[in-house]
Symmetry: D2
Subunit: 337 residues, 4 copies
């Protein structure tokens, strides 16, 4: 950590600060420059998170040198983490496509979609049983009934299932029915929920909050790993900007950035990330070209009748065509699908 | 709701859409313009939230006419809501200042601060017992012990207490100790938590998410009101932008906007909204001038030793001086403090 | 255009508004709904841009039906525009790569880079002679001397040249030396500059402003086309968000969005869009996969000595390797490079 | 400047870097920490702007210690700058209100508004003769004719005049007619324009770009001061965010931030900053409470007929009432109007 002093910092202020740093078991290194004195602090930066030095008289600003996360970092683990989802490996050579309806609406429809996406090459089935909805008057999901249909679809197709966990109280239920616990964007900083999934061994897909930085996404993942669960995938699903043509701005530069900073697999959600089905194929292809380890895509045969997010769902035929295109792109970048 | 058709929409597509609208019990009004045909849909817009018309062939876009919230709207209730916090009225002529430490750190310190802010004119004591922290390695709050100290401070000073609810499982505990349940920015769209506090009668202060629109804030409040609890205050605490000199951008235009759209009281948090104590007085004064019903301000006698957010806490003396300035501003806009 | 009235709009207010609409030669269509009266306005929307109806008593809001641009729209011209840059066709099957140094620094260096990028498959040479710099103390470009070197590099390699026009007064000079006039992000809404390049026949590459919407980019392009110059390419180069790991957030969803809305070619700038050379290859590949018509990439053999933006420049060897990868991606999406 | 090395930086990389630093006439100070080696660089940071050290092998990141601007900084000049606008002092005890129509539309209307705002207490008359418009089909201003009307209004009311300079070629004309040259948000980084106004002695009001940081605003002001013109005022007029209820988000925290960082006067534009006249009074009051040195407000007697921005203009009566309220606020914070 580097402490930059104000140009008018007094000797006694500097002395006070130096003593504080020493009292924390850290080593101060003073450099007097032409316009500023700076103090380099050597030792565990974590100690300083609790003791903010910005507040000391004479201090202008404090700059962190190290990333605030450890277990999720590339430095901690150089090789890519491969998460095993009931036999499907996420983070390896194969790009994993998760597909299905936004929400589970009925048994028949789910089974129909599950078979269709399986046939097109999807490796994991998605579907929400508990839905976070901005309006209290919107459809909120089928709950446990939906989970049972997902389980049945898994039995019939062999596709492992990813579904969203919204409420700590539902964790036992989801542990029973789901193969991957999805933590939604709105819960990325629901720290108690993160701790609880950290105490399980279930694979977790953590979605980036719509106004969260990449660093904060990694800090939230750190909550899960530091509680013992290393089976974590990260998902970029669009961030909020001023642009109005798309519902969110899908930040594909998060792919190379996360690949550099962390060993965890990176999944892209072009459906929520754009909010319009017409833009999903282009962004899915771009994601694979940029090095994503997986995609999560909404598919619905009758989007006009979907209970949620029909506007961003692909028809099964469009999904099938997309999968063919994705195979070519994957091959072009040395991956499989 | 207005449905705008594509320039190449066919007669059969229009017919299909018109029949769908009628089948929902709504009335379509067709206008054929020079470049576009549009269909006005008359009836309950809510029906269309479940049946997205965007997805129909031939449709270019759908535009909502009405706000998606009801109970929180000015149209539903013209007069200002006044929330009674154990005798302190929020939303009336008096501007209510809530003050205290970011987190409860020790019994002595809390009592010391409570007495100081009471003396300066604060009407409600703030203090976190459960702290949402981006790092799993940071101080996470004293838990129930902290709540007990808050209760004791209330007994000694007479100040009602506001504290954050992070976890549904803690609700019974907080109902016992707190006078206002704070829902933090990171939980603004934790819809299950909103439902639960909606089932209590406790006053709730709902903070705007750092990337949430004013409309979404109102939708989240609607969750609470629609479950039966009308004792809700809204809090602006800064939104995320590209600016780096402040930690967030405190959106004071939310004050007149909320005053126009809703009957609920509006509180401003200049401490989190700027992230720097030096900017707190200017923004607190601006908030009162713009018509805020209350402020929530962090105060700490030794910010260098605070366990969290020391950088944005005012010293008790600075807070005392600010209160004097705020009284003058309040008077200038026809309010009291 | 749709005018939504306030719930308390009076009959006389409605009458006043209806008369105003008629007096403008437009046709009002009134629909009285359950909660609101709305008026559809049929006729030329442009008339209403000068006469804002929002301001009339009783009006709640006004919603535009049509896009505010014409000549740049897909509706105006269905086929893709192909811009001919001295024989190089931009907007056709071939993906065009423009490469070169950020700024022209010396004759030798420019010739060296020009030969290298030509060999790797670049089709157009980039290089700035006039540089927009945030600091008045930074290198501001070689001016006409730089333009002469670009011309010489063109003669020696056959690569047409793209360079930035910052100042209206430099237009005659640039017309003489450049094959494509680049309008930088900071000048996207320098409307007088747009008008002037609209009066030439030179191909123009218009960069999206860092806080401009896609719609505004199209409006700025409309300035150029409406003055007579249809040789326009659009360039996405990153928008401002709260994310700090990248210098900007490269909005690749602008590719499918622009492809839907306009007939003009779409170029992506991954160098400025990420600000870090390590992220350039992933984003360049993603851009081609998403359907970009071209790329503009910074290349410098000694980035440590570059006068500007060395941090985001690729080494010639890395660029050469990237071009090979791009060829594979282009093929996978049915394009060439 | 602080250079942070990668954990795997080799001794020879460090040596290479240290030699480079020395060769630039700077002094490297090496600190070997537990996890990282860092190098403090002592000397003129400006040298390093041309020689980016990020690019050297083994370097992880480089952090600047000093602000990149000088002449505009509080450190360079401790006392507030007071700009003399033909007798009206901006930056002193008196809060200066600039008011008038968005654009000059006719002689009669301008004179009418000028008299009205003068009577209410405005000190400077605003009005655009050249208008930056996003659409090429919108009203573009009266040009020199408008400037003549402004001059006449000045003669009749005694109010100095502020008007926008959009095009370098118009500078001689504006020098003749205007008392303050306004540089609009879209031209904040039109560096050549900044240089030219820097060469005059005319007062300049520089508006913050809608996606520009406070630091960038100061850098743009530095362009003007470094060319010799110290008569500069800064204007906050709203930044782009995801919020849709207001046209922009007016960043009032820029007031205390700029007051800390610079000696230049700070003006607030609540008309453009909100885009809705109903929100202008609250934000104008907030700005004065927060310490603004001035306001610039749009006033129009018939906003329904305004050629531009009628939606955000106050009626003269509303403006008059606002001025009375502002006087009370100004008094409450120790200022006059």
């Amino acid at each position: 950590m580097i402490v930059v002093l104000r140009p008018d910092a007094t000797e006694s202020q500097i002395k006070h600060l130096v003593e504080k740093i020493k009292s924390l078991g850290l080593k101060p290194m003073i450099s007097k420059g032409v316009e500023r004195t700076i103090i380099g602090v050597i030792g565990e930066e974590d100690i300083l998170r609790v003791q903010p030095l910005e507040i000391f008289p004479g201090v202008e600003k404090v700059m962190a040198i190290l990333a605030p996360y450890k277990l999720v970092s590339r430095e901690f683990r150089h090789e890519n983490t491969v998460v095993n989802v009931d036999g499907v490996k996420v983070g390896g050579k194969k790009v994993v496509v998760m597909a299905g309806p936004c929400s589970v609406e009925s048994r028949e429809l789910l089974l129909h979609i599950a078979k269709a996406v399986k046939k097109s090459g999807a490796a994991i089935l998605r579907g929400g049983a508990f839905k976070p909805r901005t309006s209290p008057y919107s459809f909120q999901g089928l709950g446990e009934e939906g989970l049972k249909y997902l389980k049945e679809a898994k039995v019939k197709t062999g596709l492992p299932v990813i579904t969203e966990l919204m409420d700590i109280r539902d964790l036992p239920l989801l542990e029973k029915y789901a193969d991957v616990l999805q933590i939604g964007a709105r819960n990325m900083q629901n720290f108690n929920l993160l701790k609880e999934v950290g105490l399980t061994k279930k694979p977790v897909m953590l979605k980036r909050g719509m106004s969260s930085t990449i660093k904060e996404l990694l800090m939230s993942a750190e909550y899960i790993l530091s509680n013992g669960n290393f089976n974590v995938m990260l998902c970029e699903r669009g961030i909020r900007t001023f642009e109005e043509e798309t519902r969110f701005t899908l930040d594909l530069s998060a792919i190379p950035a996360l690949k550099r900073l962390t060993h965890l697999p990176v999944i892209i959600d072009p459906s929520h990330g754009t909010g319009k089905w017409g833009y999903v194929p282009a962004m899915a292809k771009a994601a694979v070209a940029a090095g994503a380890d997986g995609l999560i895509i909404e598919v619905h045969p009758k989007p006009e009748e979907a209970f949620s997010d029909g506007v961003q769902s692909l028809l099964p035929d469009n999904f099938d065509k997309l999968m063919k295109d994705l195979k070519n792109i994957a091959k072009a970048v040395g991956r499989d699908i």
